[in-house]
């Protein structure tokens, strides 16, 4: 671990001032729960020269908004968010996704902002002894393409071969992000240049030709809150997480589904996949297909096929294509049956 300076700040303004100060080669980083950042610092993957501890900021509230949505402070801990009465009642999808992640101890530490920005679990990214990883060392290549790639992407990846400086087949590992995408959340950020809001669909990015960038957040920007729109899916939603053990494992594939239903007809749908791409994977085609369709096996299967169009697997992860299809169909079926019914199933 590199030596670093530690700053504890007590206001948003102070936080922004410190993050912007001209500092060492690796710059400054905000410290939330530290469950991802500190691990990566110990591994020499992240080497900030300044840590700006934001955990004393008062961004810890979950409050209904004037237009009927919900405003979640960036420092709300994952366990508090999952158990918040508003979230349980109006956004059970989010609660379910959060509770499927990590362990109780980690969720007690992890913050909303930190979870949004948690980095990939790609093995070649987290072990500096591997020479090739474009995300860690831009231009060095991508060892995962010919390596052990069971947890890697099947959609939206950049693959120009293992030696290309643009290749990256990593996935975003978060469960929360998948639910937030299906729910259509907005991320509020603030920097020395002012405030802005980013729809979650534009927040995380595909690797494109710059896999070192996970998101469209600009240097120096602090996440202050996550806003959820008016709840539409409380009655019919489901988060399905498929993993290698019953708990405490990242998703191989996950599916977040929210449906607005009228009888057996789907009026509208929000759907996102986790564990399959560099960002939570949203398929507008699939959502459109579902809108107005009856909740039958046929329309569900069609939506699943549309969501996975163009999927490409690798030596160890090709199973994800079939798994994702079956998982989408299962999650859609459960969501259509109803949030509570699904839990009893």
């Amino acid at each position: 671990m590199n030596p670093f300076e530690y700053q504890r700040v007590s206001s948003t303004e102070e936080a922004i001032r410190h993050i912007g100060a001209p500092i060492g080669t690796h710059g400054a980083k905000f410290l939330g729960g530290g469950t991802n950042l500190i691990d990566l610092m110990k591994l020499d993957v992240e080497c900030p020269s300044v840590l700006v501890d934001i955990t004393r900021l008062e961004l810890t509230k979950v409050e209904p908004t004037a237009n009927g949505g919900l405003m979640v402070g960036a420092l709300v801990r994952n366990s508090n968010l999952a158990n918040d009465p508003h979230v349980i009642e109006k956004y059970p999808l989010l609660s379910q996704a959060l509770l499927s992640g990590a362990s109780p101890q980690l969720r007690n530490m992890a913050t909303t902002g930190g979870n949004l920005l948690q980095r990939t679990r790609c093995y070649y990214f987290t072990d500096t002894a591997f020479p090739a990883c474009n995300k860690r060392v831009p231009g060095s290549g991508c060892a995962a393409i010919q390596g052990f790639n069971r947890i890697h992407a099947i959609l939206g990846q950049t693959d120009h071969g293992p030696t290309s400086g643009e290749s990256c087949i990593a996935t975003n590992p978060s469960d929360m992000n998948v639910a937030l995408t299906a729910l259509g959340a907005t991320i509020h950020v603030q920097s020395a240049h002012g405030k802005r809001s980013i729809p979650i669909a534009d927040f995380h990015r595909l690797p494109g030709s710059t896999p070192q960038l996970d998101t469209n957040l600009k240097p120096g920007e602090l996440i202050t809150a996550v806003e959820l729109p008016v709840s539409r899916f409380a009655k019919n939603s489901w988060y399905l997480k498929v993993r290698d053990r019953q708990s405490y494992a990242f998703a191989l594939v996950s599916v977040a589904i929210g449906l607005e239903m009228d009888g057996n007809t789907i009026l509208s749908a929000g759907m996102a996949l986790g564990g399959v791409a560099h960002k939570p994977w949203r398929s507008l085609e699939a959502e459109q297909e579902l809108a107005g369709a009856p909740a039958t096996r046929q329309s569900i299967e069609k939506a699943a096929d549309l969501a996975l169009e163009g999927a490409k697997g690798y030596e160890h992860n090709v199973f994800k294509i079939q798994l994702a299809k079956q998982s989408i169909m299962r999650a859609l079926t459960l969501a259509a049956r109803g949030t509570t019914a699904g839990r009893e199933a």
Binding site: N2, D127, A129, V242, R243, Q246, Y248, L323, R330, A345
Partner: protein
């Protein structure tokens, strides 16, 4: 988790002259070290302090799998904050040439060579004031290598397999009977290949060493499973007399085999302490558990079974190929149990190995039987299916009344009762043999079973027992407690033999100055040290009895030894229990000094004239999701024949721990090797999956508790490893029964089920 132990837990007085079958020991109900563990006062090697402040060492590892070190530029590291020394193969103190004698027949790399045998090999040690400073300086070392082609693709190299260079405990290859003839008699055949992955032990406490020198004497706190062996290896490797090494390890935070040998870091800590002239603390980081401290070899096992229509097995062939390192041969003897588990006309087994650029492999819980039963017991399930026979019935049909491999009688075997008892508790008779015949909504339900087995081992051991003037007692033995319960059974055995409440017995272990005990490995500790403790306690008791007999003031004056028994801290006459005298009174009237005795025992006739094994039957119920193929183990029911259960709490816990590991073996555990770079990619506890609580359903573990007094006077065989055996196959067989899909490559992950 409801747990049942069938132990009468009788409490009887122990007669001095009694021999033969002993009554069940009076148990220490609470673990001896429970309070120390839960209050945090139990100290582990890395938590001790030396007489003067220790400095910290960090092991730097190679990042290539094969070649040699060309140069190490240590300028920046040496100048880095807090650094006291940077030790490399270019400046390390020269050690005497490696001595290949046991127990040191490990090849460890301690900066004496520049060759690189595997990715992760120690190539330097940085010593600094603090651990963060040492780690930081380590990252500043500039190491260049001359890389050569590495052997990393095991499956592609099977053709190069060769016999091991050294014979193991058993010969690597063995044939009994006329295999070809026997095979041709069988009309129903199974011929399949099974594989098991690379695995790495990860006890909660990673390896840790604190070392400091006082002149030519070395003091060490080391997390070990084998105090005496560790001392000897350290001494030989450093070229000093064994008596010059004082080693302590009062608690070992789990071992599972990886702490049974002395690895590089122990020697490097001692070397660093010499170089800087200060105490040095060296603890391994979690990722360093993958490579330099052993692991379970990957195996490919080909099994052929032939049987007649009535289910009688005529021929068995089990051929095993494992990987080994380029430094040293270590054999995972996966076919050993195949030689003894079932009766057959002929049986041929063999083991071969493939050289790989990987760290040395080693013992890992039930080396051989864990991987071997995973394959053999799956093959048995396949045979039962082919025969349309109940899997339990198939095993009963081929029940071995004596050891078919050695042709010797069993010291004691009650496997039949295990099948019966576990089967009944499970409800096996209600099983529909048809695969994929049970369904609950989206879940496919399956029931499977397997046989468990592990040899009963025993070694020479010594122990000291002292009766104190206040009527309490002390027992000392240079053994180890891995969390397994050694303290508990030491206090219990001494107390039981002395007739003193075990709660009044102080137990001490984990110190090289104590009487010597064998390694805590091979499930032998209890079976080895308890007889020694018992013998020592018997002697001590006799000495006090003699004092009483000679003491005119004692109610026991003039009694004959054979008539004297002990209970509740008192000696009394069996013929007239009213005549009694307490240890405390006898000692205070007779010099007021404690009385002690040394006990020394070794395996007797048992090791040669009989075959000594533990057995068990494991039944599993799984629920497999019909679309995602996630597997849930709902319950495991197992009954074991392990001789006397010495202590319910510690014993049943050992069996359960083994079963949990068996579930992990079946479903989760695998070190994934990158076959280009030779590094394990999931070298951390987030990504190296072992079962979590949610993966373990109900456990119902029982033991028959039938003493095996031919094996040792206590009748107890070891229980540390048998739990893992059979379990993986039972779970796999249940998955087959649920889905009709047979996965022969462990672990059985959902992708394999989906593609099958």
């Amino acid at each position: 988790m409801p747990i049942t132990a069938l132990n009468p837990g009788q409490q009887k007085a122990s007669g001095i002259a009694s021999d033969g079958a002993k009554p069940a020991p009076k148990q220490l109900a609470m673990r001896y070290d429970a309070r120390a563990k839960v209050t945090g006062t139990a100290k582990y090697a890395g938590e001790f302090r030396a007489p003067t402040d220790a400095v910290y060492a960090f092991v730097v590892q190679s990042t290539i799998p094969s070649g040699s070190i060309a140069s190490i530029d240590q300028a920046a590291a040496t100048k880095s904050s807090g650094v006291l020394a940077v030790i490399t193969p270019f400046n390390a103190p020269k050690l005497p040439p490696a001595n290949p004698q046991p127990p040191a027949r490990r090849h460890i790399t301690v900066l004496q060579e520049r060759e690189i045998f595997y990715n992760g090999q120690p190539v330097a040690v940085v010593v600094a004031r603090s651990l963060p400073e040492a780690i930081q300086a380590a990252s500043l070392l500039r190491i260049t290598y001359r890389q050569t082609a590495a052997k990393l693709r095991f499956r592609e190299r099977l053709g190069e397999a060769r016999p091991p260079k050294f014979p193991g405990r058993e010969p690597a290859a063995q044939t009994r009977g006329d295999l070809a003839a026997a095979m041709s008699k069988g009309t129903v055949r199974v011929e399949q290949t099974y594989t098991t992955p690379y695995q790495h032990h990860n006890p909660m406490e990673p390896h840790a060493t604190l070392a400091w020198w006082e002149g030519g004497k070395l003091n060490v706190y080391d997390s070990t499973q084998y105090i005496a062996g560790d001392c000897m290896t350290i001494a030989r490797t450093l070229g000093i007399p064994t008596d010059n090494v004082h080693l302590e390890c009062p608690y070992t935070g789990g071992g599972f085999g990886c702490k049974g040998s002395t690895w590089s870091h122990v020697i490097l800590a001692a070397m660093a302490a010499k170089v800087v002239g200060k105490p040095v603390k060296l603890t391994l980081e979690r990722p360093q558990m993958w490579g330099p401290v052993g692991g379970r070899p990957t195996t490919v096992q080909q099994i052929k079974l032939a049987a007649t229509q009535d289910g009688k097995i005529t021929g068995v062939q089990h051929d095993v190929i494992v990987h080994t390192s380029l430094m040293e041969d270590f054999l995972e003897p996966s076919a050993d149990q195949t030689r003894m588990l079932y009766a057959s006309e002929a049986c041929a087994t063999s083991h071969k190995m493939v050289d790989m650029n990987l760290g040395v492999a080693t013992f890992m819980r039930a080396p051989g039987e864990s991987t071997g039963t995973a394959a053999l017991e799956t093959a048995m399930d396949e045979l039962a299916l082919a025969l349309k026979m109940d899997p339990v019935q198939l095993r009963l049909t081929n029940y071995a009344e004596k050891d078919p491999g050695s042709d010797k009688p069993w010291s004691s075997k009650h496997l039949r009762e295990c099948y019966e008892q576990a089967g009944e508790r499970f409800g096996w008779s209600k099983r529909n043999p048809q695969p994929a015949s049970m369904r609950e909504g989206n879940k496919l339900i399956g029931w499977g079973m397997a046989t468990a087995t592990y040899p009963a081992n025993r070694s020479a051991a010594q122990a000291l027992v002292r009766i104190l003037t206040n009527g309490h007692a002390f027992v000392g033995c240079g053994s180890q407690d891995l969390g397994t319960g050694t303290y508990t059974i030491m206090a219990q055995t001494a107390g039981d033999t002395l007739g003193i409440d075990p709660r009044l017995v102080e137990a001490k272990l984990g110190d090289s100055t104590l009487p010597k005990a064998p390694a805590s490995g091979g499930s032998q500790s209890a079976a080895s040290i308890c007889p020694a403790i018992s013998a020592a306690a018997m002697q001590a008791k006799l000495k006090v009895a003699q004092l009483a007999i000679n003491d005119p003031e004692s109610p026991l004056h003039g009694a004959i030894v054979a008539d004297i028994s002990a209970s509740d801290g008192r000696l009394f006459l069996s013929s007239s229990p009213g005549s009694s005298d307490s240890y405390a009174d006898i000692l205070s009237r007779n010099g007021g000094k404690p009385v002690e005795a040394l006990g020394s025992t070794e395996p007797g006739e048992d090791s040669t004239a009989m075959s000594t094994h533990s057995f068990g039957a494991v039944f599993a119920e799984v629920a497999v999701d019909a679309e995602t193929y996630m597997v849930e183990v709902r319950r495991i029911v197992a009954t074991y024949d392990i001789g006397t259960l010495i202590n319910d709490t510690t014993g049943i816990n050992q069996l359960e721990g083994g079963i949990v590991w068996g579930v992990g073996f079946a479903l989760h555990e695998e070190s994934h090797l990158d076959e280009t770079y030779g590094r394990y990619v999931n070298a951390n506890l987030a990504e190296y999956h072992v079962p979590v609580n949610a993966d373990i359903g109900k456990l119902d573990v029982t033991v028959l508790n039938i003493p095996d007094i031919k094996f040792n006077p206590l009748g107890a065989r070891g229980i540390g490893e048998i739990g893992i055996t059979g379990t993986a196959a039972a779970v796999g067989n249940a998955i087959f029964h649920a889905t009709g899909k047979r996965i022969r490559n462990f672990p059985i992950t959902l992708d394999k089920l989906m593609n099958a």
